[in-house]
Symmetry: D2
């Protein structure tokens, strides 16, 4: 096994010199004002080791990476019944496209596009209020990250709510097709808070580890999901984790991953470890430009691609 | 390591009792008349072992599985230049959809939908006649399968040509956008012959082995492609190998795979082995119904999913 | 000139025997409970004559026919500037499709699909509250109908608001693209009230007369719009007045017309007169089944098609 | 009645000074080399008068205007049965879009988009060879234009055949859906010749007159179609005659019209006359830029819009 700490250090050093860092998300001020020069990478291995480099304890807005966690919760509540509410195919469309919804009767293509994640939140709520649902989501994230200091960034959530219109359009559309049980504004409020969870890359790598280790949380050894469910969540991350650039990520990195517009990416190397990277600048698909680059470098050095050494 | 021969035998025995076997492709008589009760499964491991069960030496029409081989040839000729001719994202559409082509200026979304495979053939031709290009394709397939008895089924090719209209529409569309260099009818003739290669599951498993073993042909140890290229071809098979049911295959099987309308599927377990299955009945997406089931059973018993045990 | 009263009587008599009357709109109870056997037809001629048959003084919900009146108001405020907010091409899609919006940056194709009508209301509001805007709309309709008894049906409006989700999706979508100036809920509230205007066919035929008489209200002889604007509104009614069945209406009836889901149709015979029909049962495109039939019969008997005798 | 000759002269004089004349079609050399400064306008009235200005006896390639004539022939053979082969709704898409075809099972939206016109030619052929069908089409055009000197421009037809790919794509697509009875290349050959008919604006105005005069050819007084059929063809020209700019033409000109990529437009003023204009430069929708302008000027001066004075 290569020296992981050295690899992470090299990646940080090499990317520090990169001038083209992408474009920070600017649709809300809270994201627009993030310093684009920040970078972090963290690794949690199934053996229980932890490595990190860069500003790996600085919290950032995990945004869509939260969809992995809410999907896990929803599968716990609904099992395969969830798939009547949301599909599991790549969409071939941007994260917020509504075209596919109209062609498929309001059923989102997968749980990682916005419409799908909104349907997943609705599935989790089960008649409860946003406050209760949010407590449940946060409690789950704290549990898998083994860290009770993780919180929502309420300013980010409030700002998202102000700029809700594209997601509101998706939610009302699904509501019109009878695809949402709860009040649209309550679902959206919950969704925006979920996306506004703030975590550091260290916390995120830790939180994702159960997906790398057959569903068992490390080092606590508590089972989060069955091995089969861990595999299936990984397959969804591989196929749909980067919107309409999922093929590109699979081609270059070769790991299941989920990106967020805050610049984070969570990537899973099954049987090996969980990786979190953070670089706020995005490519034109809304995925972290240097984050994906860092993961590509990591996989080249370690041979951890699921598609071969 | 489990007893592979026993696993294959069990799968054959269990599926033999299955009455719901899907629907044999019927758009050409040569495929429509295939006996749907036939079933074969073959495994070639990176250690050089061979296992098979069912009618594993009966040749069948590999159809779209051939796209993996022509992609490999085209990457050898063009390297990354190929990606200016064809994309590498899942399409979210059926194999023969033309809608995506119009929205994206005639550039096919990936090399495994029909339009993409036609563009790949055009890329391989490089000014040569269909006859020469076909000789080259056949020679490559014989080489990786280590079997000079492999042939085209000219009757199948001729019948495909008679029913060419959907593919002709795609080809003329790309030609109109300047995406094909060669004469449309010559490209189509080559494409239909390529799809009409007849192979047994034993031959197919053998031919795919270089993708499981970092690009090296076993047991000859001759390098076919670089390890990186093998990984990348695998990633494309994972993301796009089953048309608009690629997510479903990844979810259930968790291996890179490519299906053909003749009822075959080639699946790659990187670092472990190459699997070929054949069952002529198709599901509604045009993928082998029992073939995918067999692979799911195999992965459950062996833990060979790339997404975790 | 044929005996108009006799023609109307014949139409009423003939259609009274029709058993296939279409399906009453059922998405809100207020429309679902309307008696489908009701029928009315009214004609106001440019010479000042009035003819009617059936229950021509019974008010019904004019729904989308109101879009003709709000378009007229908006053109008065914005002139050709309105066309930067909404297009003037037939959409080829159903009245509530959102696909076109995504493909065209949130700009509705024409003022008669729902998205377009919502954009038109937003254009009319000009910073005012819904109450004021509604007062203005009602005042205009009363003026052109020369009848101050015309009112909103607030129960219909409230029920529409409860079932707002499809339209809310369209409105939030346009808001996300910066296409609406006002608060989405206020725009929707105004829109639903506008659609809930209740009028009889007599009132409606009277209200539409300015479009048949070069923009001059009859018999008052007060100018409502310029002759050019009247022509242009007529052209929009012809091209887009029946959603994705506009071609069918032009083919069969040959008059500019606008239908509403309440079962009404307003049709304009330029230089001759204004016709209103009402039959609550709809065809599968959401247009009055017998209403269109009645207009077709009328045009056959009178030769009033704009496309020739 | 205004002095028609004076109006035509004014239009020619005014447009002669126009520097922005659009862009001549350049997909085949025969059209690309046409002198863009040429202009012609011709009027044939139902009273039998003839007026023209500009180079009104110079033949030009009528291209898609021919679709009006083949539609007329096809309706003569199939009556309302034609509508099972082709729809009659505006498409909202460009003339050569294939997207709509896939969404609607290969049935073209209307007879004036390319796919629809190809289906109409196939309907006319009725088992005959292209040569016979072309003789029939030419004979019909000569009859309604009362001029036996009208011919195909075989160079244009041959060049179209060389650049056939977009239309070949449409035709093969329809063939794949069983929508064409005849051999694709024969249908295309016939279609390209039909489009390559060369006519002067004088001839074209004469040929269209039966549509303005209830289906009766003037001055011969021979009936070409029934009054109802003339009305219906006019309605189709209004709704679909200018592709995805049909709404614009209706808005500005207010007459049924059909444009061709050669720069001609045929417009019908029912009960009044038939107008032909020619200016080779096109707008971005593929319609004659100054041709439409000329018709707009004509209608403003004469009040001949079907939508009011």
């Amino acid at each position: 096994m290569p020296d992981m700490q050295e690899i992470l250090n090299e990646i940080v050093a090499e990317l520090a010199q990169e001038s083209e860092r992408g474009k920070v998300a600017d649709y809300i001020p809270q994201l627009a004002h993030v310093d684009p020069s920040q970078f972090a990478i963290s690794l949690a291995t199934v053996e229980g080791d932890r490595f990190s480099a860069g500003c790996a304890t600085t919290p950032f807005s995990i945004q869509s990476i939260s969809k992995v966690f809410t999907l896990t919760i929803a599968l716990g509540k609904w099992g395969d019944g969830l798939w009547s509410k949301v599909g599991r195919e790549p969409s071939g469309d941007p994260f917020n496209s509504i075209v596919q919804l109209e062609h498929e009767g309001g059923k989102p293509r997968n749980p990682f596009i916005n419409a799908g994640a909104i349907a997943v939140v609705d599935a989790i709520m089960m008649g409860h209020e946003p406050k209760e649902t949010l407590a449940e989501i946060l409690s789950f994230v704290r549990y898998i990250a083994d860290d009770n200091s993780i919180c929502f960034d309420h300013q980010v959530a409030a700002s998202e709510m102000e700029h809700k219109h594209r997601n509101a359009s998706l939610a009302h559309f699904m509501k019109a097709f009878g695809r949402l049980r709860h009040d649209v504004d309550k679902v959206l409020g919950t969704y925006f808070h979920q996306c506004a969870i703030a975590m550091s890359s260290d916390q995120l790598a830790h939180a994702g580890l159960f997906l790398a280790s057959d569903g068992v949380n490390r080092p606590s050894n508590l089972r989060v999901v069955s091995p089969q469910r861990a595999r299936r969540i990984n397959s969804l991350m591989m196929m749909c984790g980067h919107y309409d650039a999922s093929g590109e990520f699979a081609f270059r990195v070769g790991l299941p991953g989920k990106s967020g517009v805050g610049g984070g990416i969570l990537a899973i190397a099954p049987g090996r470890g969980s990786l979190a990277v953070w670089s706020p600048g995005l490519d034109r698909y809304g995925n972290s430009l240097l984050g994906a680059r860092a993961l590509e470098m990591f996989v080249q050095r370690t041979g951890w691609s699921v598609f071969g050494h």
